[in-house]
Symmetry: C2
Subunit: 258 residues, 2 copies
């Protein structure tokens, strides 16, 4: 019997995306890899799960390597749920999601399918890390990311993650030698300033495309945005207790039962 | 010119759901209501946004009342973005999402389209509240909820919400006289223990339905689950900084740059 850690791998760009393919190669060096990933891109699906539709699972063989692979017709969060409950015959030691094509830093963690898979694992009590590269290009160079996937995954396996915490790792779009190191950070305060591109369809009806500009209002030097801008890989510990504990006292002051 | 507050109303069950219709009636008494809600149910979509597809908006007239209404072809979070950027001619004073048909207490906040609309508003800097009734039935009785929608919305308008905090309000499925009051709470630690219902389609291929049992592991009496179980309306302040600040020190101990 293998003594290697069991690594569940997923993403939200779909099982054939270059980001997940690059990551699988690295993770094969660390443990026994089982991939359960969406059969088509699921980006910006947030923490969606499939409750009003059916889910299909297929064993597949995408490329060389010793990993075992399945596609699932659902979202990234669905992949984790079905992997843990139906596919794997033991609990994974860690779940690794990504490498996402594009940033999931700052507030993007909220919209991210990549991170929803990591959070779903965390809720299931399985340590998890989401990796993202700040390059939306399908032909992005994932070579410089490999060393960080390896280092951070191994560290998480060795040290263990705090309970109810998963990691959001973003990697700047830089050459290997340009990356300065790794910084543990907090999520920067930022938002998308949306701009809707209004067009008219061939039938004369107006429709919209959502576009926008990412605006970082947070000048702190302890944030993921600062780290990435300054050449570091950012590591943000993410929790799924969304309670603003500090606000409870304020709300009690509203005297809602009077 | 009206001195009344401008109230943006949305939901994730779709614009014709009895929950949103009941809520609109109450909110018409408090302010000028503009509804921008999905044209079809979007439940369990998490914080999904539509970036790879087009969005349509239509002015509609669903029932009597002085509210102005639009449907949008996207998710609840899309509705908020397009309302604020394209439909409304001034910033809303508050965004109210719901009343959801079914609980969004505890960890369900993560999967909830209702709460994603509230969180999206919060990110835009607009105070927001999501309301949910613990009754999945389409014919649920929303009468007992009205007093709480009114009271909590008015209190939020009068007192203001702390910055970067939105409210997650859940209402127990009880008769008016059985509800004991309102409790400000923290999110209970709980999870869905999934069970996949495996079936075979007419073509002989296996497929799955996601089902599950909601398990509350948290015995605290300061949680939303405790409040709801004991006959109270629960109010949880929700933040969208997902950083587990307390874990940063632990992670720095991993010495990732050595």
């Amino acid at each position: 019997m293998s003594q290697k850690p069991l690594i569940l791998v997923t993403n939200d760009d779909g099982i054939t995306a270059p980001g997940i393919r690059a990551m699988i190669k690295v993770l094969n060096e660390i443990g026994d890899v089982v991939v359960v990933a969406p059969d088509s891109p699921q980006s910006a699906m947030g923490h969606a799960i499939t409750i009003n539709s059916t889910l299909y699972v297929s064993a597949v063989n995408i490329d060389e390597g010793k990993q075992i692979e399945y596609t699932c017709s659902g979202t990234a969060a669905d992949c984790v749920k079905i992997a843990v409950n139906e596919i794997l015959n033991r609990r994974p030691d860690i779940c690794i999601s990504g490498i996402n094509h594009g940033s999931n830093s700052s507030i993007n963690v909220i919209y991210s399918g990549t991170m929803s898979a990591a959070v779903e694992s965390g809720i299931e009590g399985i340590p998890a890390i989401g990796f993202s590269l700040l390059d939306y290009n399908w032909e992005a160079d994932f070579e410089p990311t490999k060393e960080y996937v390896k280092k951070i995954t191994k560290a998480a396996l060795q040290n263990g993650l705090p309970k109810n915490v998963v990691l959001n790792v973003n990697i700047p779009k830089l050459k290997k030698e340009e990356i300065k190191g790794i910084k543990v950070c907090r999520q920067a305060k930022a938002q998308w300033k949306e701009k809707f591109d209004k067009r008219t369809n061939p039938q004369g009806r107006d429709y919209y495309w959502l576009t926008g500009e990412f605006v970082v209002e947070d000048l702190g030097e302890d944030t993921d945005e600062w780290a990435l801008k300054n050449g570091y890989v950012s590591v943000v510990p993410v929790q799924f207790d969304m309670t603003a504990h500090y606000a409870i006292q304020h709300l009690n002051g509203w005297k809602l039962n009077n």
